[in-house]
């Protein structure tokens, strides 16, 4: 039988090391193949090459025996490759009918859209996938699994050639468990119609629940392709990280236990479900987890940036929800993820960026004393080694690492009792990263309770006394002491849920 997709010796580098290094694989029609690997293992590069977005350095690919013209998106579509990307690519304020028509167009009669026929067609396309909902509802009013179904329906929809391979890039990252199950049924329906399904996932329980075979990539190289049957979860984890789990281990920082400062009880927010934890004075607690595990929400839920349920207390006093000002007044500080969107005032000066929290400290006699403020800010810029050390430069004049230091200085200036950091070194160069780690250590040494949510597991090992590992909205594991290790954390984030195993 001709394979639905055949990739031969695909390589690609972006100014430096090879991110994809001679990868070959082959998938039969009707097969469901899981594609797994750590972040940076080359999965997305491979998919983007197949989509015609990147041009590979070498290698070739055939779809159903037809050679794919690489670097040409129309060729990949013309041969029957269909993609559903993680963000789904739907337009939120349009309904299902309009979204299905994006890029394809509507059927029309004398210049007018034949709405009745379009709606009928949309309903049928979704019914084929096992979904029945009002096609006139806009996307933002659909459940996550319904949106995913819509994106799949669009990918599978009528084009010049019938679909041969459907590639789903982390389609369950944002799905609650129950909705993920519906998506599995959908993927099986697609496969039953003879289309090969490639399924990128970090959820290993999904790999075992859905896929017939699995391809593992590591550091841009093809490690193995094998049937899922006969593979254990630990075995797969070892294939992904390339080492035995118990191999490398070093001791986590030991912490003397002091009083509890930050406590969360029954915390719920988005996928976060009834989470309890406490952070002690002088302690640095890490939060690890894949996208959609609840790691993304935890920092903003604590500070009040997102709506939440449950209790959050600082030194025993309850912090009201959705009130960052109250959280701040009670001694909490937040360095949020995605600096540009959530923390930086790009056109304001470094002075204003730092003193924007509590500018009143330099308010005397009814006037903000700018010279006092400037020298205060200059001291902080010096302490954090921000370059250039100019309080009147605007934020946009600085590199990413220096901007992040300014955001950190903003909160350190207030000497918070609790410092919550979300991806504190995102988009930050190596030198600044190490500086930021030192500053976090110093804050903890002075008694601040620190919570760090991060996808950088080396960072968590470097900083934390213990790490809470999130899976599906709950704390699945706590890693500390001798088990504190990058691979152990990685394995724990992608491990099977205890509840699912039972």
């Amino acid at each position: 039988m001709t394979p639905a997709l055949n990739v031969t010796k695909m390589s690609k580098s972006f100014a430096g090391p090879r991110v994809l290094d001679g990868v070959s694989l082959s998938i039969e029609p009707g097969e469901i193949r899981a594609l797994v690997g750590e972040n940076g293992s080359g999965k997305s590069t491979l998919i983007k090459i197949l989509a015609g977005f990147h041009l590979p350095d070498e290698g070739s690919a055939e779809v159903d025996g037809q050679p794919l013209r690489l670097g040409d998106g129309t060729s990949s579509e013309g041969l029957g490759l269909r993609f559903v990307h993680q963000d789904l690519g739907l337009v939120n304020n349009l309904d299902a009918v309009d979204n299905l028509a994006l890029g394809v167009g509507y059927s029309s009669f004398r210049g007018g859209i034949r709405w009745r026929q379009e709606r009928k067609r949309a309903r049928k396309a979704l019914a084929d996938l096992g979904y029945h909902f009002d096609v006139r509802r806009t996307v933002d009013r659909l459940a996550m699994s319904e949106r995913t179904a819509l994106a799949v329906a669009r990918a599978m929809g009528p084009r010049a050639t019938p679909p041969k391979v459907l590639i789903l890039d982390e389609p369950t990252a944002n799905l609650p468990a129950a909705e993920a199950q519906r998506l599995f049924q959908l993927a099986r329906r697609v496969a039953d119609s003879g289309v090969a399904v490639v399924f990128v996932s970090h959820h290993f329980d999904e790999v075992f629940g859905l896929a017939q075979s699995v391809t593992v990539l590591r550091d841009g190289q093809h490690v193995i392709t094998r049937p899922v049957a006969g593979l254990t979860e630990d075995g797969l984890i070892e294939l992904v990280i390339g080492r035995q789990l118990e191999q490398v281990q070093h001791d986590a920082k030991a912490a003397e236990r002091r009083a509890v400062v930050l406590e969360a009880a029954g915390l719920g927010c988005g996928v976060l479900d009834n989470v309890d934890f406490a952070v002690h004075a002088g302690e640095i607690v890490g939060v690890a987890g894949i996208t959609g595990s609840g790691r993304d929400e935890i920092a903003r839920a604590l500070f009040g940036g997102l709506d939440r349920t449950g209790e959050v207390t600082v030194n025993g006093a309850a912090v009201p929800k959705l009130r960052p000002d109250k959280a701040m007044a009670m001694g909490m500080g937040l360095v949020p993820a995605e600096r540009h969107a959530n923390a930086a005032f790009m056109t304001s000066t470094l002075r204003e960026n730092i003193t924007v929290v509590r500018p009143g400290t330099h308010w005397r006699g009814g006037i903000l004393r700018k010279s006092a403020e400037r020298s205060d800010v200059a001291r902080w810029l010096e302490r954090l080694d921000v370059r250039p050390r100019k309080p009147e430069f605007t934020m946009a004049d600085l590199s990413g690492g220096n901007q992040q230091k300014v955001v950190l200085a903003r909160w350190l200036r207030l000497e918070p009792k609790v410092l919550v950091l979300d991806e504190p070194t995102q988009g930050v160069d190596v030198g600044a990263k190490s500086d930021i780690h030192t500053l976090i250590d110093e804050a903890a040494a002075q008694g601040t309770a620190v919570l760090v949510a991060s996808t950088d597991h080396e960072e968590l090992v470097r900083l934390c006394h213990r790490v809470l590992v999130m899976r599906r909205g709950r704390i699945a594991e706590e890693i500390s002491g001798g088990r504190m290790d990058h691979d152990v954390i990685t394995a724990a984030t992608i491990g099977r849920d205890q509840a699912d195993a039972a």
Binding site: G40, P324, L334, H340, A341, P359, R387, S399, G400, Q426
Partner: protein
């Protein structure tokens, strides 16, 4: 392999340490060309018209006329700065001004006294601000749309108060003195304008509230996560712009001594032009009080000079519009090239 995605942000990931465009920045900074270009243009305009129409332009009386006639526009514009600083438009300022004029005159025409009229007019201004804030903050209506609707409602209000025509009877001479008397050869409204400018300059530059306003305008999400009460500050901004517009209305009523339903409308566009033109001055990139004043008097000088030199009356609107577009386009260009460096 770690999960270290070194996201590169174009234009931001450049070498730290070097100030942007060093040489060019230095020369223009010494002359203040980057921050005070408006003052230079103003000086050039004064020079041109002094040579062109010396006997008409370069007189104390002409300076007095320009200052007096622009005081109201300047006050409305300065009130507008506050919501614009926090990223909200208030298109209802002209409507509030109109309602205020009509209210204070109506009170006198109906023998309720001018003092009560002033109090009620100011309260109406605050009420309009409060409703605007409710629409924008609570109902999450875009401020442009919300205040546009409000300005239409206020226009209806002026029609209702005046009965569609002019009211001019019963206006007290004491009251008109508020707008028409002179001190040191300058009409009183000029002094109100200066006082208001000082208060708002202090508010925006030397109080925490000013920081919050600019913070919200720069990045509302970051402002919220920095513990700023975005809704509350925005509400305050609308209250203030409503109050200032109402106060300007009282002064305008005193200047005119009469009220008509269409009195507010002509102030809207000049006020907005001045605020945005002003954002290219003094503190480039942010709306500010001195920049707005420079913009107002620059435009007024240009228009008056052209009128004295015999230009037709439509030159006013033409000059205002063209100056706004050119100035803001130049500022945008300068900003873009600075970012590219």
């Amino acid at each position: 392999m770690t999960v270290d995605k070194q996201t590169t942000e174009p234009g931001v990931e450049r070498e730290a340490g070097g100030p942007p465009a060093p040489t060019q920045r230095k020369i223009t900074a010494v002359l203040g060309l980057d921050r005070f270009s408006g003052l230079y243009v103003w000086a050039v305009l004064i020079l041109i018209f002094s040579l062109w129409v010396p006997d008409l332009f370069l007189t104390a009386n002409n300076a007095r006329i320009i200052a007096g006639s622009q005081a109201i526009t300047a006050m409305v514009a300065m009130g507008l700065i506050v919501p614009v600083a926090c990223g909200a438009f208030d298109l209802s300022i002209a409507g509030t001004l109109g309602v205020s004029v009509c209210t204070v005159i109506w009170f006198q025409a109906n023998h309720h006294g001018w003092a009560l009229g002033i109090v009620v007019a100011l309260l109406v201004g605050l009420a309009v601000g409060l409703v605007n804030a409710f629409i924008v903050v609570r109902l999450h209506v875009d401020s442009f749309i919300g205040t546009l609707g409000m300005s239409s409602i206020l226009l209806a209000g002026t029609e209702w108060i005046t009965g569609g025509g002019q009211i001019a009877n019963g206006v007290s001479a004491t009251f008109t003195g508020i707008g028409q008397n002179q001190v040191w050869g300058l009409p009183l409204p000029v002094f109100y304008m200066v006082a208001l400018a000082i208060v708002l300059w202090w508010l925006l530059e030397y109080t925490p509230i000013g920081r919050y306003l600019y913070g919200i305008g720069g990045n509302p999400q970051a402002a919220r996560l920095a513990g700023i009460r975005v809704g509350r500050v925005t509400t305050g901004a609308f209250l203030l712009s409503g109050l200032v517009a109402a106060f300007s209305g009282v002064v305008l009523a005193a200047q005119l001594g009469s009220a008509s339903p269409d009195v507010g409308g002509p102030f809207l566009l000049p006020a907005f032009s001045a605020v945005f033109l002003g954002a290219t001055q003094v503190f480039p990139g942010r709306v500010n009080v001195p920049g707005t004043l420079i913009a107002i008097f620059l435009l007024a000088t240009g228009v008056k000079g052209l009128q004295l030199a015999g230009a037709p009356s439509y030159i006013n609107d033409l000059f205002n519009g063209a100056a706004l577009i050119i100035a803001v386009a130049l500022a945008a260009r300068a900003y873009a090239s600075q970012r590219k460096a």
